[in-house]
Amino acid sequence: MTTALHSPAAAGSVLAGTAPAGTVLADTAPADAAPGPDAASPAPVTMAAALNRALAESLAADERVVVFGEDVATLGGVFRVTDGLAARFGPARVFDTPLAESGIVGTAIGMAMNGLVPVVEMQFDAFAYPAFEQVTSHLAKLRNRTRGRVSLPVVVRVPFGGGIGGVEHHSDSSEAYYAHTPGLRVVSPGTPADAYRLLRQSIECPDPVIFLEPKRRYWGKETVALTTDGPPIEQALIRRPGTNVTLIAYGGMVSTAVEAAEAAAGEGWDVEVVDLRSLSPLDEATLTESVRRTGRAVVVHEAQGFAGYGAEIAARLTEQCFYHLEAPVLRVTGLDIPYPPPYLEHFHLPSVDRILDAIASLEWE
């Protein structure tokens, strides 16, 4: 079967590390990206700009913070998240490295052992895999190895997920690999305000944090005051209260989930949306409280479903809320295939329709 698509691959598609051209790029212009005189007053801000502000303010607040990786200094990062930082903080605080991800994470570990607070960037999700041994065997385990004597306050920023028309290896969702590794925190923001708050909190956190930035939301705007006030790093948030079903999402799927909840309202379902924010550790209390109340749950993520992170949510909720459940916890996820090429990615990604279909199948008798 053949489907003709009448539009080329999504605008703003990228390969191998460059910000989308055209209008979206304008959002990352220094004027927008640089922290304004009053960072806390509400103004329209993109997630990329919010992250940039979080980095700038962390660098300013704590001289132990260093930012490094591939193309983060002169270029300002392929998504411009580090734009202007090298100019402002100089080459001892913000610098480019040779092209070697294991080297980046490995040296970040050494720097943290010697008292710095490294915030490193993996250029894309799939390009973090060369660093997997350093992340899994050392970043995650050194505190435990040394009975707590070595603390590694390292943040590994990973632009992750799809929906941007990227060619192969530019759209992976790798959260399950990290969430299964004890010793790591895994965090993913769904909104600009949370991107700012969570990144600042991650930099302050004494544990290593894998910070998953949903690429497809980099350019989405929110009019909001950026502040570290608010929920702590490991707390889930109810984005939309509801009574009939709990819809659980994180990162790039939060907006999709909220959209689905609005659409579901039209069809008579009052959907509660929980934004996990912290994938590991998991805020079980917020989650189980919600599901015990609603009696139904759907978890959404872009990653392949099989042995994906959603399985943990489903298994855990079932263990803890079994007698409150009216129907099994369902998962709306990516297909069990390698991430597709740009023209086919929309077939893979969870959509509002698929979420509505899942909700509809929750035994409403």
């Binding site: 079967m1 053949t2 489907t3 003709a4 698509l5 009448h6 080329p8 691959a9 605008a11 598609s13 990228v14 390969l15 191998a16 590390g17 460059t18 910000a19 989308p20 051209a21 591939e70 193309d71 002169t74 270029l75 300002g76 392929v78 480019d96 490295t97 040779p98 092209l99 070697a100 991800e101 294991s102 080297g103 799939a126 390009f127 895999y129 060369p130 028309g165 990227g166 060619v167 192969e168 290896h169 530019h170 099989f306 297909l335 069990d336 295939i337 390698p338 597709p340 090429p341 740009p342 023209y343 086919l344 929309h346 077939f347 893979h348 959509s351 509002v352 329709d353 698929r354």
Partner: protein, 381 residues
């Protein structure tokens, strides 16, 4: 102890060491930037006239293709395009030096190399257009699938070539790498395995000065990338990558050497990326316009054309004919890539395993049902 600084080789040594071509500061060249014969380095053989003419012809065609692809990317007809412009001599020279049975292991930047190897243009561009990951049949063209993870395919090339040795096949693998990619652990492991196994591999590093925005000086402190050969016990050549004759001669020498069982060769070809990293990159953020202009003036095609013209190997009629051939190629690329893309969502499930699993068959059926439900022409949300 105070003598130390003198006895250690300086980290920034740039002087030539006789017998150590890998360390030579002056890249070998057969035809210099003005189209005159290069000072004869006594190591490389000038290819015969028909080869030189073919090198020129294929560069002109490759350039035309590259310019057209860049334009298509700007129009949104390709998801992205990393241009080969400026590296024409590397990509064409290397590929023409291969024998039929040899294999090319290209990177995402090597579209012109892939085209020159005979891959049909839309197939060569499928990855970058976005209709599939690799658009061509690797076995048909003896071109390994290109993709974006850096340095990983160098190991595939070594394994492929070593398998040929084990099977008694006469076959050489050409592994392409960028200067930035040499920093990855996989490059190290590939060079090491190749040297230990004496695998029939030629490594060609296109040193175009940058890895996206990062200049070579932040990538390595080595006197040259070719110098890395010494640490693997692998011979190396440093050549002028804008001299198609030198690239051809060096790769051909490497192929012959490897085919004879003498093991791998590392070639560093010094060149320049005339365009931004991709159409979506803004290279004004990290490089001087003067630097770009200076390198654009050292165009590999003009250089070989000057040499050929001066020797009566290229006349105006020939040039005009070639220009027309190039235009025809561009037109055909434009036309064939301006059609709407047809994709088959069912195919998403077909190649994950040799036979789709039960779960994939279920997911396939569900997706096709969903697509059938959707109005024609309307995207699944």
């Amino acid at each position: 102890m105070t003598l130390l600084a003198d006895t250690f080789p300086s980290a920034s040594r740039q002087t030539a060491q006789p017998g150590d071509p890998g360390l030579a500061a002056t890249p070998l060249r057969l035809i210099d930037a003005d189209g005159h014969p290069g000072a004869d380095p006594g190591r490389l053989e000038l290819p015969p006239a028909p080869v030189l003419r073919e090198l020129h012809r294929r560069m002109v065609l490759g350039r035309s293709f590259d310019v057209q692809a860049t334009a298509l990317a700007k129009q949104g007809r390709l998801a992205v395009y990393p241009s080969s412009r400026g590296q024409d001599a590397c990509q064409v020279g290397a590929v023409l030096a291969l024998r039929d049975q040899d294999w090319l292991f290209p990177t995402y930047r090597d579209s012109v190399a892939i085209l020159t190897r005979g891959v049909d243009a839309p197939e060569a561009l499928a990855l970058l257009r976005g209709d599939w990951h690799c658009g061509y049949d690797p076995y048909q063209y003896r071109v390994a699938p290109h993709c974006t993870p850096l340095a990983t395919s160098a190991l595939h090339a070594v394994g492929f070539a070593h398998a040929a040795t084990l099977k008694g096949e006469d076959l050489v693998a050409l592994a392409m790498l960028g200067d930035g990619a040499t920093s990855e652990g996989d490059t190290h492991e590939a060079l090491n395995f190749a040297a230990v196994w004496k695998a029939p591999v030629v490594f060609l590093v296109q040193n175009n000065g940058y890895a996206i925005s990062v200049p070579l000086a932040k990538q390595t402190a080595a006197p040259s990338l070719a110098a890395k050969g010494i640490g693997y016990g692998m011979p190396a050549l440093l050549i002028d990558g804008n001299d198609a004759a030198a690239v051809y001669a060096a790769v051909r020498a490497g192929v012959e050497r490897a085919a004879s069982g003498a093991g791998p060769l590392l070639i560093e070809a010094v060149t320049y990326r005339a365009e931004p990293h991709t159409n979506a990159d803004d290279d004004t953020r990290y490089r001087d316009r003067a630097e770009v202009a200076a390198w654009r003036a050292r165009d590999p095609i003009a250089r070989l054309a000057a040499y050929l013209s001066a020797r009566g190997l290229l006349d105006e009629a020939g040039s005009a004919g070639l220009a027309e051939e190039a235009q025809r190629l561009a037109a055909s690329v434009r036309e064939r890539l301006s059609h709407d893309v047809s994709v088959d969502p069912g195919e998403l499930f077909d190649h994950v395993y040799a036979r789709p699993t039960a779960a994939l068959r279920r997911q396939r059926a569900a997706l096709l049902a969903e697509v059938a439900d959707t109005e024609p022409g309307e995207d699944a949300r």
